[in-house]
Structure formats: structure tokens, C-alpha cells
Symmetry: C2
Subunit: 81 residues, 2 copies
């Protein structure tokens, strides 16, 4: 079983890294881009010791408490069986 | 229109950052985790000047040439209208 956690900055929070990427890709000739925001992505492999529901709860807790900063970041969890 | 780009290390490539995260979450009491791998996630907002097909091509090119290192990383592109 695999869990995927996506962490990105909340919409009101400034993202200088994203702005730098946007500036770079524009310099490199890519056009039509109005915004770039960078986030993080975690792939967590779980051994089969938990059922789907418990795995989701455990990974949600991990995303909230360890992988993201809930003051400035949102997270999303997906479980793949 | 929004594009999402997910970049992660290829499966054979060592991921010390992921290993460090795995070790930390285990110390914090989370169990049942067999592997953690960290990747990157980009949200790219596009102005409406391109149709879906052109947007996908442009973002695929960007992912391949700028946002990922194709020697050690894989990428995945999603377009949301």
C-alpha cells in the first residue's frame, strides 16, 4: 500500500522560490505562465499491517504534524492500494 | 487553466532525505512505514492564451528541461481546466 502526500503553500503566502522559477522559465522562452508555486510531494510505502482506514488516519496525522507546517501550508493525502 | 507537475526520484536512486524523514517519523511513534521518498510538486497557473493540447506540450517541455533532472528523476504532468 502506498500513500501520497502533497504539501503546498496556502494561497495567501508568498512563494519566492516559485517566483524565481517563473522568472527563469520566462527567460528561457516559455510564455503564457501567470504563476508558479512550488510544493513538496512525499511517497510513503506502508507495510500491510494497517487497513485502509487506519493507514489514512496515520498518514493524515503524519502530514499534519510532521510533513507540513499547518500555519502556512495545506496538505492533501491519497491512499493507493 | 492550471498545470500540476510532480517530480520524483527514479526508483533505483538513493533518497537520503526520504530516509531521514522515515527515521524521524519512526522516532515520533509512527509505525508500519516501509519507505519514504520525497519529491517536488509545482502548480503552474497558465493564462488562457493556449489551448489544452498546446498547454500540455509546453508544460511537458518545461518539466523535462527545467523542473526535473531526467537522469535521476521522473515527472508527471496533469492539466486542469
Amino acid at each position: 500500500m502506498k500513500a501520497k502526500v502533497y504539501v503546498n503553500l496556502k494561497s495567501g503566502v508568498l512563494d519566492p522560490q516559485g517566483k524565481a522559477i517563473q522568472h527563469s522559465v520566462e527567460l528561457l522562452g516559455f510564455s503564457g505562465i501567470s504563476d508558479v508555486r512550488q510544493g513538496k510531494y512525499f511517497e510513503i510505502s506502508l507495510d500491510g499491517s494497517m487497513d485502509n482506514q487506519r493507514a489514512l488516519e496515520s498518514v493524515e496525522k503524519m502530514a499534519r504534524e510532521v510533513l507540513s507546517n499547518p500555519i502556512i501550508e495545506d496538505y492533501r493525502v491519497e491512499i493507493e492500494t
